[in-house]
């Protein structure tokens, strides 16, 4: 199969995953483009986490295809996909609690960067960008929640991925922390030409920072568009936003 020639970082075709009788993700097509922050949203149980695990190789698709950086990665291991340059975080505890912040970030550099001095330089650079420089020698598990979330991003970003996939990085952050994290995401996109896939429940933040948004509902693709288009989409309002407005 010839590699895709279009400038698309990731593309799924009919991606499907069944768990027994449950169709968690069904016939999903979407793509992630260079230099964009793509939001993946949907109500609980919409299939966001399953999609996340499918594209990072943690689940194998029941049907459909996954293309990452022009290569057919359907059925490939999480290790193979991460080595292509797709790095993900986890929703809960995406860091090493007993290790210092510096050693946590260092972990992200080991595969890609050779030589101790260059690794430490990368760690310092990454920490500076995330505002973690003052905490480098602290044990990560002792840090406040907001900083731990940034360390998780730091580990992943230290690998300098081409596509950074973040699983609910804003959960539990206060307004200031949300704002500074969004700024970090924009800098990752603009200064490092790295695309970001953002799975997030914080709708205000998603609408503010994302270039495009994909909406899932009951494991199916519901809509794709800019934040303005998504906000105006009647199906989305009914399925998702409307439901939230009832609260």
């Amino acid at each position: 199969m010839p590699p895709d020639t279009e400038p698309v970082l990731l593309r799924t075709k009919g991606l499907t995953r069944r768990f027994g009788g449950l169709l968690a993700v069904s016939d999903l097509d979407f793509e992630i483009r260079p230099r964009e922050i793509l939001g993946l949203i949907g109500p609980n149980g919409a299939g966001k986490s399953t999609t996340f695990n499918l594209i990072s190789g943690f689940y194998k698709p029941s049907a459909g295809e996954l293309h990452v950086f022009g290569e057919n990665c359907t059925g490939r291991s999480s290790l193979a996909i991460s080595r292509l340059g797709l790095v993900r975080t986890f929703q809960h505890g995406s860091l090493m609690r007993s290790m210092t912040v510096a050693d946590n970030i260092l972990l992200g550099t080991i595969h890609g960067v050779k030589g101790g001095a260059r690794r430490r330089e990368r760690v310092a650079q990454t920490a500076a960008m995330l505002g973690l420089s003052p905490y480098l020698s602290e044990e990560a598990g002792n840090l406040p929640h907001g900083l731990q979330r940034l360390v998780s991003i730091g580990i992943a970003f230290a690998a300098r991925p081409k596509l950074l996939c973040l699983d609910e990085p804003l959960t539990g952050l206060n307004q200031t922390e949300v704002a500074s994290t969004l700024t970090v995401l924009e800098r990752i996109r603009d200064e490092f030409a790295c695309s970001v896939l953002l799975v997030e429940h914080n709708m205000k933040a998603v609408m503010r920072v994302c270039d495009r948004i994909v909406v899932l509902h009951h494991g199916q693709h519901l809509a794709t568009g800019t934040p303005a288009e998504i906000r105006a989409d009647r199906r989305v309002i009914e399925a998702y936003l409307g439901h939230r407005h009832e609260h």
Binding site: S56, S78, L79, S82, R83, V87, R88, T89, F90, G93, S94, L95, M96, R97, S98, M99, T100, D103, L106, L107, G108, I110, H111, G112, G116, R119, S137, E138, E139, N142, S152, I155, A156, A158, A159
Partner: protein, 306 residues
């Protein structure tokens, strides 16, 4: 790489070697040998604990090392240095195959497989006529030139390997091991081949355990299947737990303490096994971070302490 505190290590090593040079009593020499071999075994066990696994197969690899050294020397007629090294390499090679199959499991499963492997290998020795069956192998002698210097030699070889494992622990490789213990999935997502790293850790530790077995064979001149039951790993675990597992100094302190006290208890006619069992229980209940944890007050890498 972080500061290895090399001056302290070298100072301690010179002191230990100078001490062994003074040993002329055969009983004290045997206690010194026990300490050095026990410490190397305990450090090997702890090296796999760095990545979060309790490796009861340590006992099997000590045995494989001892039998490989014994067989290559007495049956194949290999020279002493080669037979010594063969013990480590033999154990290392077997551990690569064993690790490739078993390191996909974790926790209690991995522990039980190691336990079963140790007992299975022990039965193999006792069924093999070449390896002397249940009565074992005899005549595993070091060169005459080492007569009277075995404690010095054994302490030197053990110290060299312990220092090597310490350097590895403090390197980026050691940090990957801690990361695997803390959160294996995160390590996998940044492009690290977890299985390969686990096998590398396991094989390195098993090489050291194999050399401990070689040294055991040359120190005692006689080996039998009974020497290499799971108790070898249980004793090593006692050394680690009593000494403290946070730093590599822990198993060293624990070994010295328990071997010396155990030898004393043996003189009283008491069962040393009960003694070791009690030591593990007391250490776990009263000193969760071991004797060195008492002295240090906080973990070596902790930023603030508690």
């Amino acid at each position: 790489m972080d500061d290895l505190k090399l001056p302290y290590w070298l100072g301690g090593l010179v002191l230990a070697l100078a001490g062994t040079a003074l040993v002329r009593d055969a009983y004290i020499a045997s206690v010194v040998n026990l300490i050095a071999i026990g410490a190397l075994t305990a450090v090997s066990l702890r090296f796999v604990m760095l990545m979060g696994e309790l490796n009861f197969a340590t006992a099997a690899f000590v045995g494989i090392g001892a039998y490989t050294a014994g067989a290559t020397l007495t049956i194949l007629g290999w020279p002493f240095p080669l037979a010594l090294l063969a013990g480590g390499i033999g154990a290392g090679l077997v551990s690569i195959v064993f690790g490739y199959v078993t390191l996909r499991t974790k926790g209690p499963y991995f522990l039980l497989i190691g336990f079963a492997f140790t007992e299975a290998v022990r039965i193999l020795y006792s069924k093999s006529a070449t390896l002397g069956g249940t009565s074992g192998m005899i005549g595993i002698f070091p060169p005459v030139a080492l007569d009277g210097w075995m404690p010095t030699f054994i302490v030197a070889v053990s110290a060299l390997l312990i220092l090597g494992l310490y350097a590895l622990e403090r390197s980026d490789f050691g940090k990957i091991l801690t990361a695997i213990r803390d959160n294996e999935n995160v390590a996998r997502t940044v492009g690290l081949d977890i299985l390969l790293i686990k096998i590398a850790c396991f094989a390195t530790a098993s090489f050291a355990a194999g050399i401990a077995g070689s040294l055991h064979a040359f120190a005692n001149n006689v080996i039998s299947p009974g020497d290499f039951s799971f108790l070898v790993a249980a004793f090593a675990l006692a050394y680690v737990k009593v000494g403290g597992e946070d730093s590599i100094v822990g198993p060293l302190v624990g070994t010295v303490l328990l071997v010396v006290l155990g030898s004393y208890a043996l003189g009283l006619g008491g069962g040393e096994h009960i003694f070791y069992g009690a030591a593990i229980m007391l250490a776990v209940l009263l000193l969760p971070r071991g004797v060195t944890g008492l002295a240090g007050g906080k973990r070596p890498q902790a930023g603030g302490g508690h």
